[in-house]
């Protein structure tokens, strides 16, 4: 175990560690461009030069491995001068168009220039003109003038994705990143290129010019795209800065060694648009004749409660069917179970609609099961109590089930519109609770708007049985509410009181009552999540 | 009999027409006069077909605006009293004019027509009584508005008016002593005498201190700056906060009519009423030297005109005061009324008594 001194601080690290990693342990940040913790070091940018005692020339911190008794200076005049000079070189042909560059505000070149350089350019010649707005593929745009040729993107595609779609062509100051002519980027991970790029050369089309980065708030969350449960940051703003009036601007991956490292697949990354989609349900509405009338929550609850009770009184609990969705959080699902199953004794609860987990995975991050909380729904026992979800729909068609309560699920997506139409049109009462309009809403007698994953707090349990927390980044759109609150309100209207004030209270109860969750609370789940200890799982 | 009624109605029409018109014009005059005093131009935007006429159309525009406004009654207020209050304010202010003589007795077609609507023998008491009644409108307005600020405003107003009522009434006592009558026509007539044969024996000569007290107290009664604490449109909230539309206009007009009423009473009590110096029913004369006879009708016209001009002057003067002096603080207002004006009024009564007694004796 070599022990070395970095800027007068002693640190002991594993053999084979590089200086930059050792410095990170001491919270010393060594500026760098080409170095990326998850990619091989290539010493391309020369930004991370540090002085090592007894070595006359400066060394690259990203590739120099530590030795015992090494003495490293990351901040002396020699190093600062070198950084300044490197930056001066990097900026020779870099256009000074930060105001229109999408990366401004989160650009490492900009940051380090202000931190270390602040030189006035000595370069009097004309700047090298390169290609601008190069279309690399369906999701990424390249601006070669802004590129500093750190090759992070090239290496990412080579080392992580393995598709090798980008290369550096030409020579000297003509060098440019590019695709092989006529072969655009096609892989499912190209969204990461914009994150990986330390400058504004690679920008995501989805985010391009939509908003300046400093207008955005960031909140830790979990990607709801599949059962991997990649850790993400939600970048959002309550005020809209673009024509589509969106509030969530992008999802970026958040480091988690256990789940997604530093990456995020495009399916999840660009799957957030439903949050601000025009088809969002924003107010509770009731069917009056053929029309839907927007009402307030109390009215909606009263009506749903009254009709549910009517069906209860005329038939039996077995004439009610509940289909929750594995898109919901543990807390939402627990409320569904607690109220409908344990309190109202309805046994027709199941989330496994036929084909629920048959998407297409890619073997890396994207899983075939496109639901973030399948494992949670299983653990909470929302399947296997009674008939399968497909049977519930079938029973509705046969008239055995008179009332159907859909919590966030979209049966038409799996079963086809025809089947759903024939089933739901038979039911005496269809309640749809969810965030976006779907085909089943056509038959709903009451529509209760639910909040999306960025608008509520809660936990997801991913396929590895890892409980991870989502945080609220935005206020729920319109009058929508988190699903657990809707069920809580409905329960209260029907005369059942649950003492929950926040999602955290529900989680405490889950921890108390559900095997596997025992002893957990939000603090223990933390930002990185916690893996459940499941016996025989 | 019938002709008497007709004549009375004619007089009423004349007086009220005059008063209401002057009140309307005062709204314009207040803006224009304050503007001119303050080196401004003043309201001049309302126009009819491009004709602006120095902003004279503004009162009309105001009326149009005020009538088309929503008439709003606070849901928790007393609907009847809320509606009654502004009209009470108008009524009490207007009633005072019934006893104010605006000219000498007119001899026409063998009839003696006194140029006063109702020559009550308790004229002064009538004036003071109606002045006091005016406070009802304020209190009712404040109370029926269901608004604590309105109520506070009206309480302020009630306290203020009652305080100054005393000084007002006591200052008038001096005038009664001087002319020996409470009938306004008599008082006006008595002011046709001359002191030392050349100085008109007007109230202001007989009662200089009384005049000041009366004028100050009367200003306070009208609730205008510097005594405008009940309203204080600009900062403290007054009793007509909850009034809008025409009812607000009624208060507004009531205030101007009060101004004219005060001007009329001051003219009658202290500035010779309809008397014009050196003109009497015989004609123009220089005391002790000569007389130029004038026709009776001309004399009456001159006298009525003089009365109107005097009233206008005092209206102007009261506007002048309003745009010159800043507002009292409330404790200063009460202190001034009780600790200064009232003792002064008593002193005036005693002094007047002593002086008149010694002259008669």
């Amino acid at each position: 175990m070599p022990t070395l001194v970095i800027d007068d601080q002693k640190v002991t690290v594993d053999p084979g560690t590089t200086i930059i990693q050792a410095a990170k342990k001491l919270d010393i940040t060594i500026p760098h461009y080409c170095y990326h913790p998850r990619l091989k070091s290539v010493d391309m940018c020369r930004m991370c030069l540090v002085e090592v005692k007894d070595i006359p020339k400066l060394q690259t911190a990203c590739s120099t491995q530590v030795r015992d008794n090494m003495v490293v200076f990351t901040n002396n005049q020699k190093v600062l001068d070198a950084r300044r000079s490197v930056l001066e070189f990097l900026l020779i042909n870099h256009p000074l168009d930060c105001p229109i560059c999408d990366k401004a505000g989160e650009c490492m070149l900009q940051d380090f220039y202000f931190q270390f350089s602040r030189h006035t350019s000595k370069f009097k010649e004309k700047k090298q003109k390169k290609h601008k707005v190069v279309n690399l593929g369906p999701k990424i745009v390249l601006d070669s003038e802004r590129c500093i040729l750190c090759a992070r993107c090239v290496r990412f595609l080579k080392e992580v994705v393995g598709t090798e779609e980008l290369g550096i062509f030409d020579r000297g100051d003509h060098s440019e990143i590019g695709i092989y002519p006529g072969r655009p980027l096609e892989n499912n991970y190209q969204g990461n290129l914009a994150d990986v790029c330390p400058v504004g050369a690679l920008t995501a089309k989805d985010f391009r010019f939509a908003c300046r980065s400093w207008f955005l708030c960031q909140e830790n969350s979990i990607c709801p795209g599949c059962s991997t449960g990649c850790n993400v940051l939600v970048h959002s703003s309550e005020r809209s800065y673009d024509k589509t009036l969106r509030r969530v601007y992008r999802l970026t991956p958040r480091d988690n060694d256990e789940v997604n490292q530093s990456w995020l697949c495009d399916v999840g990354r660009y799957g957030y648009h439903f949050v601000d989609d025009p088809d969002r349900l924003t107010a509770p509405s009731l069917k009056r004749g053929e029309e839907y009338v927007k009402v307030d929550w109390d009215t909606a609850f009263r009506e749903v409660a009254q009709r549910l009770r009517g069906i209860f009184e005329r038939y039996s609990p077995s004439s009610l069917g509940i289909i929750p969705s594995p898109q919901l959080t543990n807390e939402d699902l627990y409320m569904v179970k607690k109220f409908f199953n344990e309190t109202l004794c309805i046994t027709n609860i199941d989330f496994k609609l036929p084909g629920w987990n048959q998407g297409q995975g890619d073997g890396f991050l994207l899983k075939a099961d496109r639901n973030p909380n399948t494992m949670g729904a299983e653990l909470l026992g929302l399947s296997g109590i009674g008939p399968q979800a497909g049977e519930i729909i079938e029973k509705t068609r046969l008239g055995e089930i008179k009332a159907l309560y859909l919590v966030g699920s979209d049966p038409a997506r799996y079963l086809g519109e025809e089947k759903i139409a024939s089933a739901l049109s038979r039911a005496q009462l269809v309640v749809f609770q969810g965030s976006n309009y779907n085909y089943a809403c056509k038959f709903a007698h009451a529509i209760l708007p639910g909040a999306t994953f960025v608008e509520k707090e809660g936990t997801f349990t991913n396929a590895q049985a890892r409980v991870q927390k989502i945080n609220q980044a935005l206020r729920p759109l319109g009058e929508s509410l988190p699903d657990w609150k809707i069920i809580l309100g409905l329960a209260l209207t029907m005369g059942y009181y649950f003492p929950y004030k926040a999602a955290e209270d529900i989680f405490k109860d889950i921890a108390r009552e559900v095997t596997g969750f025992s002893g957990l609370d939000y603090k223990k789940v933390g930002d990185k999540g916690i893996k459940l200890a499941l016996s025989g799982g | 009999m019938f002709i008497d009624v007709a004549i009375t109605l004619l007089k009423i029409a004349f007086v009220f027409g005059l008063v209401l018109n002057i009140a309307g014009i005062l709204g314009w005059a207040e803006r224009k006069q304050s503007a001119v005093m303050q080196d401004r131009i003043g309201a001049n935007r309302a126009d009819i077909l491009g004709l602006r006429l120095f902003g004279l159309f503004h009162p009309i525009a105001d009326i149009v605006k005020v009538i088309t406004k929503e008439d709003w009654i606070p849901p928790g207020g007393d609907k009847f009293l809320h509606t009654l209050a502004p009209f009470l304010a108008l009524f009490t202010a207007l009633a005072v004019f019934a006893v104010i003589p605006f000219g000498d007795t007119l001899h026409i077609a063998g009839r003696d027509i006194p140029l006063v609507i109702a020559d009550l023998n308790v004229g002064i008491l009538f004036v003071i009584a109606f002045g006091s009644l005016g406070i009802y409108s304020v209190v009712l307005a404040g109370w029926s508005s269901d608004n604590k600020y309105s109520l506070l405003g009206s309480m302020r107003a009630a306290a203020q008016v009652i305080s100054y009522e005393l000084a007002l009434a006591l200052s008038v006592v001096g005038v009664i002593m001087a002319y020996g009558s409470v009938e306004l026509d008599d008082i006006a007539r008595a002011q046709g005498q001359y002191v030392l044969g050349i100085i008109p024996y007007w109230g202001v000569i007989a009662q200089p201190l009384g005049f000041l007290i009366f004028f100050a107290a009367a200003m306070a009664e009208t609730k205008r700056t510097p005594f405008d604490l009940p309203e204080c449109e600009s900062e403290i909230i007054g009793y007509f906060t909850e009034y809008s539309g025409f009812k607000f206009l009624a208060f507004w007009m009531g205030e101007f009519i009060e101004v004219i009423a005060v001007a009329g009473v001051v003219t009658t009590l202290y500035f010779g009423g309809w008397q014009v110096p050196f003109i009497d029913s015989q004609g123009f004369f220089v005391p002790g030297l000569f007389t130029i006879p004038l026709p009776h009708l001309l004399v009456v016209v001159i006298q009525v005109t003089a009365f109107i001009l005097k009233v206008c002057f005092f209206c102007w003067f009261m506007l002048l005061v309003r745009w010159t002096l800043p507002r009292f603080r409330y404790d200063q207002l009460m202190g001034f009324g009780w600790k200064f004006l009232l003792p002064l009024a008593f002193l005036n009564v005693i002094l007047s008594g002593v002086i008149f007694m010694s002259f008669e004796g």
């Binding site: 090798e164 779609e165 980008l166 290369g167 550096i168 062509f169 030409d170 020579r171 695709i179 092989y180 002519p181 072969r183 | -």
Partner: protein, 159 residues
Amino acid sequence: MSKGLEFSKKTKERLQAIVAKYPEKGAALLPTLWLAQREFSAITPEVEEYVAGLLGLSLVRVHEALSFYTMYTPQPLGKYHIQLCTNISCSLLGAEELLAYLKKRLNIEAGETTPDKKFTLSTVECLGYCGTAPVMRLNETFYENLTENGIDQILRKLP
């Protein structure tokens, strides 16, 4: 997806020998490209694909090498490739005039090929003969101390 593009047997043998020299097949990219250029006269996209397939490299890697080195050409050249140095020493000694002369004589611009596919004219940076500037390279032969007359003679001698 080489559309029927294939090295001749002789070239294949040479390639075998070259590849054997390197620990990794991919390292033989440059000589293989050189062989390909000889064989197919230019490294067209089809050739790139063929080479990439032969060496188990991605297309992008082959294209990187192709774009980096100037002696590989993506377009077919004329029979004679004239590369005239226009760097400092040569320019000082009249390379610019020579270029103008060549352009006039061949009736093409720099970088173009004559319609009869006989000549291709291109300008290059230093060829390493500054001591005997101006210099031009005709295919693989270098000509030093050039003059207009000298060029005439050289070109006249060509078959």
